[in-house]
Symmetry: C2
Subunit: 473 residues, 2 copies
């Protein structure tokens, strides 16, 4: 893409050597020819005015005019209206290397879990909030602010977490980060410095968790998850002194960590002097009437809770938060400083205003209705086409798990569906050991509209029938 | 700060247990009292309408109305106009823990290097660019985009670096990051994976460099800098296979890496199969007529060049770029993915439009004039008050070095100036060994206006007089 210049001239890197052989005019001609041949100046690109270039290079304007005329005569440049000089469009130049093209548009249906509805990103609200941020930004918001985040945002986030998630935290123990990935990375590094060696991860669970643990120089160990959440007895059998959990809506099973297990887990943490990292990734979207409070509120000195706007607004914003015990928060903020010196100041201010104004809550309510409708579309489509499948994990978020009856082959169903451009995600992807638990399909529906959900299920209805999988397609 | 609610009701986390003792009304009253006493609901905060809360909790509206009336009678709540219920303003609640206050306003003058002019952040241009981003964003820009960065931005950055910095890079070898700190961190991690053990840093130089090296699990080793830049013979005497440099305008001495040294350095890199990390931090602002091309352009397979908009626009944006050799770029992008999954998508689009539209170049030209005027203010003030000081490193950027004549005591001058609220930065801060090189003061002037520069120098004029330092103040 050629750079366009609106009312201004481009900067060009040209060097003239007053000590070298050849006149300055010859040198300038040579430098411009090289810049054009090599593609540093692209076909069609506008050159600085002769006055401007002469001033930049410290030569006479006549010398530049002469050079432009010479190169125009040679076909490198074209004089266009209004005294503007451009690189000739006919110039043959090396192709600009293109960055990889975005993935081709998929005409199929991808039931990928973990994707929010990208079409519903509240662009108008966000732009309003950016304007508010611009209007109210202080010098500190524009410079290198505090690595832990804008004091105003941390206050608003602490208040929000208390009000909506029954968390218990003060603004000074909030660290703003870019999302779960960075939040868990910073936290694990601090835990390692403090002597942690082994970190438990849920099995089944996100395989990335073990990667995060290893990358921080720690050993991951899987712990089983059952219908009540993580099995604390399993945790006791490991050397772990920290565990990464998704208590509000387990990934991928969707179970909620049961009250008894919560107590048991916190007892384990006390016994081990351990830390629980709570991935609070989609708790905003609950469809029943019983919100599940954050584990963090029960034991603020044991739990590091990590949340973000990636699911509630959109991943593009790269804003999240870490609610940390007071004895860890300063070290986590220091890690943030060393990693990237802090998150963008104006974006932080914009999120502050979005929450303060009530627009954030209003968006969540709209989205809860939208996801609820998608959820109905999925359950009805499956009830109609595959009534024998038991669907669980639907109390919150935007994915559900369909356990497959005995004899059905998860991998064969996924493969057969893919041949019809319906992308399913088998439970085996989430088994940390790659093991052989009960076969199941994880249906994500956040970024699919209701029509796509219904038609996607209809197109693989035969594959979901009980009995050995065979693909008639 | 109380949360304000515009045309919407807040979300509240309340739990009712249908299996527990006590009526639902009693439970709801208790839950609200606790929320108010604990400060989870703040004084003055608006409660959901009775209809809304009843619907959320799955109870009758009358039950909620009765509860509100009871708590109003008890003084917890107040009914205000329009059927709105709020937490009573008189409620005594635990104080909200405040995040640390921003640093108190300094009435003195801080000649801190490395700070751009924050008052000149082009807020109007940036807001325009945000609007452009919103208008043109694709689904990919709103979701998890490529970790290496938006393809459009990478293309624009590659083109810009070729045009202005004489770099030689294709878009596929550009990785968008949050600035130098993240850029060097990602690069060093990849180098470590590839077998690098020791990394040289400039001495004098930014002490943070050695910290970055150590944090990546590598050994830093200092290499001296003289009037021609880094001493390559010194580099040969170390075990380093990588070096972090500021070739265009050395931090802090301000010297430019001389042409002969550039060649010598690249020969060293070839011999060692080594890597040069080029911190291109303020090359946008040159005041003479001879731009200094990036080292990267001379050896794109040996040099990782890191730049950002922190000095050119403002640190708040947290956007930078890594131009990497093709054999390193994919691994650096993967490190970016693992660290934070990529930089904010809309911000990347906004920067793309800012550069494409020519507004970025126009801002740089404005700022070059602004910094040139500050530079004149500094040189004239020092010429007037301390004509014996030799000022160097002023060809670019917004700091200069004043070497102190023999017998003057750097630390004593800094301390005496601080007592007058004039903050000076001594050269010892930049000596990696904390060693005893020639005493000097590094004067940063980017974020000071001309009046502050002049009055700051005038207020310490006597301290800068030759001879043993004594503070008459």
């Amino acid at each position: 893409m050629a750079v366009e210049w609106s009312g201004s001239t481009p900067e060009i890197m040209l060097q003239l050597d007053r000590g070298a052989k050849g006149t300055l005019g010859t040198q300038l001609q040579g430098a411009l020819r090289t810049a054009i041949r090599s593609g540093r100046l692209r076909a069609g690109e506008r050159l600085p005015s002769s006055r401007k270039l002469a001033s930049d290079l410290g030569v006479s304007r006549g010398l530049v005019q002469g050079t432009y005329e010479q190169l125009a005569a040679e076909g490198y440049l074209t004089a266009t209206g209004g005294g503007t000089t451009r690189v000739a469009l006919a110039m043959r130049q090396p192709a600009i290397e293109q960055a990889a093209d975005p993935a081709p548009v998929d005409v199929g249906v991808d039931f990928a879990p973990g994707r929010p509805d990208l079409n519903s990103f509240p662009m108008r609200d966000w732009l309003w909030a950016c304007g508010e941020a611009a209007r109210t930004a202080s010098r500190m918001d524009i410079g290198y602010g505090e690595a832990a985040g804008s004091p105003r945002l941390r206050e608003v986030l602490a208040s929000y977490a208390q009000r909506v998630r029954a968390a218990s935290v003060g603004a000074r123990d909030v660290v703003v980060c870019s999302g779960f990935t960075q939040g868990v990375t910073l936290t694990l590094r601090v835990l390692r410095e403090r002597g942690t060696g082994t970190v438990a991860v849920e099995d089944p669970g996100h395989r990335e968790m073990a990667m995060h643990v290893r990358r921080a120089g720690l050993r991951p160990v899987p712990v089983p998850v059952d219908a009540h959440g993580v099995v604390v007895d399993g945790l006791r059998g490991t050397a772990a002194t920290a565990v990464i959990l998704t208590p509000a809506h387990q990934t991928p099973t969707g179970v909620v960590l049961a009250p008894g297990r919560r107590q048991e887990l916190l007892r384990w943490a006390d016994e081990r002097d351990g830390v629980v990292i709570e991935d609070d990734y989609d708790s905003e979207f609950r469809y029943d009437r019983r919100p599940v409070g954050a584990l963090q509120g029960l034991a603020p000195d044991r739990v590091v809770m990590i949340g973000s706007v990636s699911k509630s607004l959109g991943p593009t914003l790269r804003l999240g938060w870490i609610l940390a015990p007071s004895h860890l928060a300063p070290a986590i903020a220091e890690e943030k400083h060393r990693s990237d010196r802090g998150s963008p100041g104006l974006d932080q201010l914009a999120l502050t205003r979005l929450i303060e104004s009530g627009r954030y809550d209003a968006h969540l309510r709209r989205m809860r209705r939208a996801y609820a409708a998608k959820r109905v579309a999925l359950t009805e489509a499956l009830r109609r086409h595959a009534p024998h499948l038991r669907l669980t994990g639907l109390d919150a978020g935007f994915h559900a798990v369909a356990a497959l009856p005995d004899g059905m082959d998860e991998a064969a169903i996924v493969a057969a569906a893919a041949r019809r451009s319906i992308h399913l995600h088998g439970m085996h992807r989430y088994r940390v050991h790659g093991g052989t638990g009960r076969p199941a399909i994880v249906f994500g529906f956040g970024d699919l509209n209701e029509h796509a959900i219904r038609s996607g299920i209809a197109r693989i209805a035969d594959l979901l029938l009980p009995g050995p999988t065979s693909d008639p397609a």
